[in-house]
């Protein structure tokens, strides 16, 4: 039904587009040049007035219809039916009425319910047609009002363009709303968290054991919310990832931009980019099932004990994921160094290697730095790899062979399953999320600033 109404409205808008077009042409007896705006603008203007308000109306109607019918239904029940019933029971009664109306009858529904179900059926019927009717009339009113304005002098193009601009501004506001939503949702929950746990403990505490009982009498550890070990673990894993990704990515980029034959480059570059396209959950499997046991085996043969969920395994795999990120950003940065620099260096009799290490890389350094910073922020925010391959216990260590935990691991472990919003355990996830958001934000702003500065230098 709803779909048909929407289709009908769209159809109406399309029809009115052609109607208004023709009418505009008719208004000047076919001499189109006498119109201020082209006929199709008249069409678009009218179509917008027909389509947009009526579709918005349908959406609002849909939001309100359910609750309105429900309260009408309750109000229409014989007096005293709902006396002494809890909200849940009333809800259940309504569900029963709806079930009966939908034809799912269990046993013998009471006559009251049966009657109500019939009423519900008919109201729903009415509501449906009323919605169609109202939407249709709004569309028609739009049509009449808007098409009434059609005349040779009418600036339909300005009108249509104003509507379009309005829509575009509304769209660009979504980005702001998203950020606002993120900040607000994180902030509100985080503030509730800081109500119970002091920020001093959170930011400077050395003990992270968020497993407070989720029911009375549950057996768990005490519950401590010092996030330093979590931050340190995140940093350690990100550092390992960068240690893997930066040299490999940078050297790959150097080779691809400066040495590789164009044909080789055309093959290798997309292959490297494939690494970026692989979903992180796949990397997680790779870390757990291939890399971690291999590292452990290697550790055993050289006599170094390596934890099976070591920071090294998670970090190394994350590094692999980041390689294409670094290589493509470095590639861009190196390619952005003007040809004149290369010429200058070659003309001095420098070899390719000298040109790269002494001229191109120093010149591209800000761009590369920006890329590395962006990659760091990515490593910090990466989730699935560490959820699968890193530890859960927050221990404060700088040893990459030991397990550590990260902010994202904690967020996911704290939130999966139990989604109640009222204990510090759940709320701490939002506090961590807030920190994560702010840190990545700062890194991004910094990185973008550096990159932009760098670009300006050569423009």
């Amino acid at each position: 039904m709803l779909g048909y109404v929407l289709l009908l409205l769209i159809g109406l808008a399309v029809v009115s587009y052609f109607f208004a077009r023709r009418r505009a042409i008719a208004a000047v007896q076919g001499k189109e040049h006498e119109l201020h705006s082209r006929p199709s603008y008249h069409g678009a203007y009218v179509a917008a007035w027909v389509g947009i308000p009526s579709v918005l109306l349908v959406l609002v109607w849909l939001l309100l219809q359910g609750p309105v019918i429900d309260s009408l239904l309750l109000w229409s029940l014989p007096i005293g039916t709902t006396d002494g019933m809890s909200d849940g029971q009333i809800d259940l009664l309504l569900s029963e009425i709806r079930s009966v109306a939908a034809g799912n009858i269990f046993g013998e529904p009471s006559p009251v319910v049966q009657e109500a179900a019939e009423r519900y059926q008919s109201w729903k019927f009415i509501a449906r047609w009323a919605m169609a009717g109202v939407a249709m009339s709004v569309a028609l009113v739009g049509l009449i009002l808007a098409s009434g304005r059609i005349s040779p002098e009418f600036r339909a193009r300005h009108g249509a363009e104003r509507i379009l601009s309005g829509l575009m501004i509304a769209c660009s506001l979504i980005a702001i709303l998203t950020t606002l939503g993120i900040v607000l949702s994180l902030l509100i929950e985080a503030l509730r968290f800081f109500d119970r746990v002091s920020p001093v403990e959170f930011f400077f505490g050395l003990n992270w054991e968020p497993q407070i009982p989720i029911r009375e009498g549950q057996v768990t550890a005490g519950g401590a919310f010092g996030a330093i070990p979590v931050f340190a673990g995140t940093l350690l894993i990100a550092l390992i990832a960068m240690a893997v990704a930066t040299p490999i990515g940078l050297y790959s980029a150097v080779y691809l931009t400066e040495y590789a034959h164009p044909k080789v480059r055309a093959v290798i570059k997309p292959v490297l980019e494939l690494l970026a396209g692989i979903p992180t959950v796949v990397y997680g499997f790779f870390a757990v099932l291939t890399v971690a046991p291999a590292l452990r085996q290697f550790g055993e043969t050289i006599g170094v004990p390596i934890a099976p969920n070591s920071a090294l395994a998670a970090g190394a795999v994350m590094g692999i994921m980041i390689i294409p990120f670094i290589s493509s950003l470095s590639d861009d940065a190196i390619a952005a160094v003007p040809r004149a620099m290369r010429d200058g260096s070659y003309a001095m009799g420098a070899t390719k290697g000298e040109t790269i290490t002494k001229v191109l890389l120093p010149a591209a350094l800000p761009g590369i730095m920006g890329g590395v910073l962006l990659a760091v922020s990515r490593a910090i925010g990466e989730t699935m790899i560490v959820v699968m391959a890193a530890g859960i216990i927050a221990s404060l260590t700088a040893n990459p062979l030991k397990p550590v935990t990260t902010v994202t691991v904690q967020i996911v472990t704290l939130l999966i399953g139990d989604s109640e919003f009222d204990n510090p355990k759940t709320l701490s996830a939002f506090a961590l999320g807030l920190v994560l958001f702010l840190v990545t934000l700062a890194l991004n702003v910094l990185a973008l600033h550096i990159v932009r500065k760098y670009r300006e230098q050569y423009e």
């Binding site: 660009s172 070899t351 000298e354 290490t357 958001f437």
Partner: protein, 547 residues
């Protein structure tokens, strides 16, 4: 200027000196070194990609075939009513058909032999008969999937027999053999051990009583002094205490003395002594099942066709029936929502910012916002979805609508940024030319710039969609990992799962079939991503214009 003397010594000579040559060689070596580093770096990256893909393919490929049995089934009209085929007694039809192939299975084993077939067999038959009502009264041959353990058995993933003894136990026995205590006694392989009949624990009787078991164990322990593991005592057959008891009964005087006793060894060790490798049947199977399976195999009824069910079935608890259709549909719905929201909104935003927005603080704010959103960790979007869409707006959990909305927020920045880049790439000359003939800004946009930028926009959108398809963390947070055993009831507001979350949940299933299916699902996901990326690259190649 009249003097033509060079102010420096003739440089040309210097370039040919030995020193200069050495220096040049060194410089070229450094250059080659750098090149080598580059090649090594690329080899590492590509090699790792290869290892990653290979490890997935190796575990995943068995899941692309499924062992099936071509079972001739007589659709007995007595058990299926032509009027109401849906309520026939299909379970017993399948059992009868199986009994015909494997005759002579005792009554009490029939049920367990029936487990060679997937437990869905009767439903597969039902669905077939409902669709082909003319089959009633005829014998039809249906390809039925084998249940997971037998599928894995046929593919050779799990063995029919296991080693009865671990390597440690074999080593213990070797040690015993080396000490020369293994001997034949009464036609049985036995251990000739010294036993101290401890008067503290043994009462000579008669009848003799005491902890003979302990004595036997202690005597064995004496021969394996450094082994502290109770499973060493499995070496002795069950009658070990009886052997001592018999000796004591025969000669009560040995109490308090050390005597030699022959203990017969348990069966696996006896086999080991004969030079065989002792085997036991894999406890996953019963002997009756294995016998029946052999009969079926010998009759040539088994084959391993391509596993289309993997793509076209919904999820199931039974690996042999589990497929990705539910997850693919769920991902499709979520991506549809994601596309319908992020594509128009993204383009509109990009066009506004690039072409219309005045440069002021407000538009700067929007710009900074978008750049930052592009780098916000995906898990934070999950938190947003959890708090706002589920918590504040009260939308239902696990549904593609919410999943798509969260994904679209993630994809938006990607689309906006690539769209802006594509718009920027359209040279100003085109705009100026259009403006010059009197077009309005909107007209220039709609008629010239957007169509020219469209290939670039599409490329960016597809890449954004591919990212969204592979995204797991935010979907986990909003619970889009429901169990969907049927694709019939799927919609935007029905609980659903998506490909990556399906991978995540299959990975957590105990059944062996899911191990390879998890990898197979990853391959399917990678396949989709590859297709999307190839399309994007093709678009870029096809429409790339040099201005």
């Amino acid at each position: 200027m009249s003097d033509a003397q060079p102010i420096e010594p003739a440089a040309g000579a210097e370039w040919n000196s030995d020193k200069a040559r050495r220096r040049v060689r060194r410089r070229y070596a450094a250059n080659r070194r750098l090149q080598a580093y580059g090649i090594i770096a690329i080899s590492i990256a590509v090699g790792l990609l290869g290892v990653l893909v290979a490890s997935i393919v190796v575990t995943g490929y068995p899941a692309f075939v499924q062992t099936k049995i071509d079972l001739p089934i007589y659709v007995d009209p007595a058990k299926v009513d032509a009027e109401d085929p849906a309520s026939g007694k299909y379970r017993s039809l399948v059992r009868e058909a199986l009994a015909k192939v494997v005759p002579g299975v005792p009554e009490n084993q029939q049920r367990s032999v029936g487990k060679i077939l997937t437990s869905d067999a009767s439903y597969i038959l039902r669905d077939y008969v409902v669709e082909h009502s003319d089959a009633i009264g005829k014998t039809i041959t249906l390809p039925l999937a084998l249940s997971d353990p037998f599928d894995q058995l046929y593919k050779g993933v799990i063995p029919k027999e296991l080693d009865a003894l671990s390597w440690v136990q074999v080593r213990w026995f070797e040690r015993m053999t080396n000490r020369g205590v293994v001997a034949e006694h009464d036609g049985r392989t036995s251990l000739k051990l010294d036993v101290y009949i401890d008067p503290a624990t043994v009462d000579a009787g008669p009848p003799p009583s005491g902890d003979f078991d302990g004595l036997a164990r202690n005597s064995l322990q004496a021969y394996l002094p450094k082994v502290h593991d109770t499973s060493q005592f499995d070496m002795l057959a069950n009658d070990a205490p009886a052997a001592i008891e018999k000796r004591v009964a025969a000669d009560p005087a040995i109490v308090g003395k050390t005597v030699q006793v022959f203990f017969s060894v348990s069966l696996p060790y006896a086999a080991l002594a004969k030079g065989e490798i002792p085997k036991i049947t894999n406890p996953r199977f019963t002997d009756a099942q294995l016998e029946a399976f052999e009969v079926i195999e010998q009759k040539g009824l088994l084959r391993t066709p391509f596993n289309w069910e993997l793509l076209f079935n919904a999820d199931s608890r039974f690996p042999e029936r589990a497929g990705l259709a539910g997850a693919i549909t769920g991902s499709f719905y979520a991506l549809l929502i994601c596309f319908m929201l992020s594509f128009p909104i993204g383009i509109a935003t990009a066009v506004y910012l690039e072409e219309f927005a005045p440069k002021n603080r407000f538009t700067d704010l929007i710009e900074v916002n978008i750049n930052n959103l592009a780098a916000v960790p995906s898990v934070v979007f999950g938190l947003l979805g959890l708090a706002v869409f589920l918590g504040f707006f009260g939308l239902p959990r696990s549904v593609p609508l919410v999943g798509g909305m969260v994904l679209s927020l993630m994809t938006l920045p990607t689309i906006i940024i690539t769209t802006r880049a594509a718009l920027k790439a359209v040279p100003p000359s085109i705009r100026e030319a259009a403006l010059g003939v009197g077009a309005s800004k909107h007209q220039v946009m709609m008629h010239h710039v957007l169509p020219l930028a469209l290939p670039g926009i599409m490329t960016g959108t597809i890449i954004g969609m591919a990212q969204a398809l592979g995204e797991t963390a935010p979907l986990l947070l909003i619970g889009m990992n429901a169990f969907i055993p049927s694709v019939e009831n799927m919609g935007l507001l029905e609980p659903a799962t998506s490909l990556p979350t399906q991978i995540f949940s299959w990975a957590d299933s105990p059944e062996r079939g899911f191990v390879s299916r998890t990898s197979a699902a990853i391959l399917v996901l990678l396949g989709f991503l590859l297709i999307m990326n190839v399309v994007a690259i093709a678009l870029r190649q096809m429409f790339q214009r040099k201005w």
